[in-house]
Symmetry: C2
Subunit: 151 residues, 2 copies
DNA sequence: GTCGGTGCAAATAGTTTGCATTAAG
DNA sequence: CTTAATGCAAACTATTTGCACCGAC
């Protein structure tokens, strides 16, 4: 996706913070916190301020370049490039990885809600918490409410 | 659901804040913010402190009585009694109402992920934003998501 | 009487904002 | 040259925490 033209379309200026935030966002597949985006940006150009990162992220969200999601893992919002609008987040509670999956589930949910419930779905956000393929099936002995084994 | 016995099972004391928070939670079908729960509780017993409400809510979440969800409407978390674990939130962007819908969508999503993606789903959280039956189909002209580039 | 739970106030985390300055167009 | 965008610092919101006291058991 071309940041510059995307910005110009909206009569917005192409600035260093915007270029760097976009670079960080699109280079990492992960769901980054504003904080970590700031750190990465800051590592490249220390002059960029934290608030510019926040302002840039909100701006990107407004013009549809980025997307904010509160995955609920912790308190902070996570950011990612906006690609697919309907997307499932598979959060592995064991290894903390976040997989993406966009399939027909969203499509069928959409039509189901429209047909049977008169609800016109615009944005569908699905977060599934569980265990990914790598971490295998549920462990026999694990305290269910174990928040994070990472201590 | 019986708060007192639920607490006793976990060797927890039955206190005024806990009783009141539970009362508020179970009486209102809505998704309440901690703030509004505090207000309602406080209206009944002004001695109850805000932090007790927060502590109580986390406690309820831990023992499975309540459930926190970041609906993303605003910054604050929303709380509700824990009833159905798998539940769809239908958020109407027009009238701000939140409908609940727990059906087979979650069940089929679960099995789909298990069968085709080796992902063992534990908790499924679905938030659909759109327009509810009452508000009808999409309006022709509305400046809902106006990307306001600060004038 | 014991100690888990509370009220209070202060701290923290994440994010936002007012304003003077800078740099994109 | 104009004014959008930035850097900075301070403000704000939601939530958490340390500690002394209180009340459930």
């Amino acid at each position: 996706m071309d940041l510059e033209s995307e910005l110009r379309v909206h009569d917005l200026r192409v600035t260093t913070p915007r270029r760097l935030v976009w670079q960080v966002l699109s280079e990492s597949a992960d769901h980054l916190t504003a904080q970590s985006i700031f750190e990465k940006v800051n590592a490249v150009d220390a002059a960029v301020n934290r608030s510019s990162v926040y302002r840039t992220l909100s701006l990107f969200a407004e013009i549809g370049l980025a997307r904010e999601s509160k995955l609920g893992e912790d308190e902070a919002s996570r950011w990612e490039p906006a690609h697919a609008d309907d997307e499932i987040h598979l959060v592995c509670e064991s290894c903390d990885s976040v997989l993406h999956h966009s399939g027909d589930v969203v499509r069928s949910l959409r039509s189901h809600l429209g047909d049977h419930h008169d609800f016109e779905a615009r944005a569908v956000e699905i977060v599934v918490r569980g265990r990914c393929a790598t971490c295998g099936p549920a462990p026999a002995s694990e305290s269910t409410s174990e928040p994070s084994p990472a201590s």
